[in-house]
Amino acid sequence: MTVPSHETRNNNNNGGISFGRFWAMTIKEFIQMTRDRVTLATMIMIPVMQLFLFGFAINTTPHNLPTAVLMRENTDVGRSILAALENTDFFQIRTVITRAEDMDELLESGRALFVVEIPEGFERALRRGETPALLVAADATDPVASSSALGALSGIITTALANDRQIEFSEPTKPAFKVIQHRRYNPAGSSTLNIVPGLLGTILTMTLLIFTALSVTRETERGTMENLLSMPITPVEIMLGKITPYVLIGLIQALIIIAAGILVFRVPIVGHPASLAAITGLFVVANLSIGYTFSTLATNQLQAVQMAMMFFLPNILLSGFMFPFAGMPQWAQWIGEALPLTHYIRVVRAIMLKGADIGVLAYDTATLAGLMLVAMSIAVTRFRRTLD
């Protein structure tokens, strides 16, 4: 073994960032990423799986709510209402009862979430032009489910009676009250439409945070950090080299989710796809930077994953993904403003559903970029070049 005598080292710079060293790190990370086949497969499968789970399972417009009908009179009107309720997929008639005592028992046991009571003399009062009361008892422990169902209920009954039994209300052209619902951007009121952009951000946040959260601690735990630190590579080069391969993965994930959203859930992309790609790229890098920051703060992989989870939770709860942002208390909104997902969801919903241009969304885009830079600065400052 001999040492080559010629001097071939590129003494290009002593400080600063070298593209060559950054690229060395990127290639290395990329090879390591592809070598771990199970993880790679998981990376691709997670978005698909979660999109389908969330997209189909989470639906704030509930269906097939267990319902009971308390029939105090056996009339055509009663049967008509019963049939109408059964015909909608909101309600599923579990049982028809005749005694009031059974009603409490059904609600308490949870066998019925709704009990519709058709009182005695309802049809007669109706035909006389009086305004008889139709009692609906609802289990309101899940307000989301009950309120939307309650909203639908009076409409269903009115239509049922008007169509099926030709019962004319006293003033058919002037109902006692009328609620006009104008659902913009989501005319069908489909929650999937709203959830898919949210899910895009949530899935990206979760998977990307973990990828980079493990990157530095993995080197430390495998003992390769000592060798890496003894080489002339700077913290910035290590960080960028470790982030870059996962940007590709993040964009592939985003592509899969958006494609599935279009094909399976019929989510439109009203805005420009380039805007969507740009903001998604920024969001991917921001999350990878934050994950990388955790990696420089944690001493082992378990700690890093826990930190990522601690960060992930408020992202889900306070970003406007699960609950309407405007409805949150002020302090929660402030926290929400500091989370990348909040800004991403706003921008993506605007681009996909409203057709907004990225220029209109300058505030959210700039904030996202700001959060990314803050994370990167912390990571580079926190990265220890010695083993002290």
Binding site: T8, N10, K28, E226, N227, M231, P232
Partner: protein, 316 residues
């Protein structure tokens, strides 16, 4: 601090450090260690486990910051110019620290790229050939045997053509043939002007170094050539052979004037610092039937065990 020589070419003294001290959790791991290594020399670094060898080496290449002390490595200040040192020093860690999930070629190419070498692929190919790993270059580093891992690690170390090699127990867990090959390579590299600081436990390896330094409990106890280190202990040694030398050991152990007894096969090494006292102590046994006494030169191992024992006394 001695006057730093700010040139890329290695100066005559490649390592020149003074009063290095490092503590971890209140315990002094390295205590006032000064050391100098000349260009083109193989400097052996010896001492028991946990004596501070690794910590000292890490301070030399900028991986640890000394609590106090200063000095230069290749003419660069170890406190302020560790970036420059990193470029010119090849550090081989005690534990294999290349990427186990990368192939031999990928590891070497990574090193070549990080050091900014031109034609990383060509450099890696040349290194693979030198290492005798041709045809196995696609094998993952983690699948290699201990001896091959060590060869690969050395190959990666010398790839960027460093001026100084810091090798931390490179031959631990490697078979004798691989150890011999490894040392032949080290000597070949030194002949070409490379300086080497190598830590080891093995006496035969210590004897292959130009100079050695012995460290125990964080303190540098001896430094110099093998002969100088042995002479510095001031030991006189007798070798006694014959039947029942083990029983003799028990009898001799308590005698004043005898500082150290160690069995070597069927022989017994009896040593003391005061030659006259040692001879007085063994005089009654000299004529015992069946025993053969011979005045002997102390070995390096005698010297080290003596150094270690004396330092233990100081610390207990």
């Amino acid at each position: 601090m001695t006057d730093p020589i700010m040139t890329v070419e290695a100066p005559e003294t490649v390592i020149d450090v003074h009063h290095l001290t490092k503590s971890f959790g209140g315990r002094k791991v390295v205590d006032d260690v000064s050391m100098s290594v000349r260009k083109g020399r193989i400097h052996g670094f010896l001492g028991p486990n946990g004596s501070g060898k690794t910590t000292t080496i890490r301070m030399l290449c900028g991986l640890l910051t000394p609590d106090s002390g200063d000095g230069t490595c290749l003419g660069f200040d170890i406190l302020t110019e560790s970036d420059r040192i990193r470029r010119r020093v090849g550090y081989m860690t005690q534990k294999f620290s290349l990427y186990q999930d990368l192939s031999i070629r990928e590891n070497l190419e990574f090193v070549a790229r990080v050091y900014g070498l031109s034609d990383p692929r060509g450099k890696a190919s040349a290194a693979i050939e030198r290492l005798g790993l041709k045809g196995r270059e696609k094998q993952l580093a983690g699948e290699l045997s201990g001896g091959w891992k060590q060869r690969l690690a050395l190959g990666a170390c010398i790839l960027p053509e460093p001026a100084l090699l810091l090798l931390d127990e490179p031959t631990a867990g490697v078979d004798p043939q691989a150890r011999r090959d490894f040392w032949n390579e080290i000597h070949a590299l030194a002949t070409e002007g490379l300086s080497v600081l190598v830590s080891t436990h093995y006496m035969d390896e210590a004897e292959r170094c130009h100079e050695i330094a012995y460290i125990a409990y964080g303190k540098l106890l001896a430094e110099g050539t093998v002969d100088e280190v042995i002479a510095a202990t001031g030991l006189s040694t007798w070798t006694v052979s014959g039947p029942e030398v083990h029983r003799l050991q028990q009898e001799l152990e308590k005698l004043p004037g005898i500082d150290m007894i160690a069995p070597f096969g069927t022989n017994l090494h009896v040593a003391g610092h005061d030659e006259a006292a040692l001879e007085r102590a063994i005089a009654p046994y000299r004529d015992r039937a069946g025993l053969k006494w011979e005045k002997d030169a102390p070995t390096l191992e005698d010297a080290f065990i003596d150094l270690m024992r004396r330092s233990q006394d100081n610390f207990s």
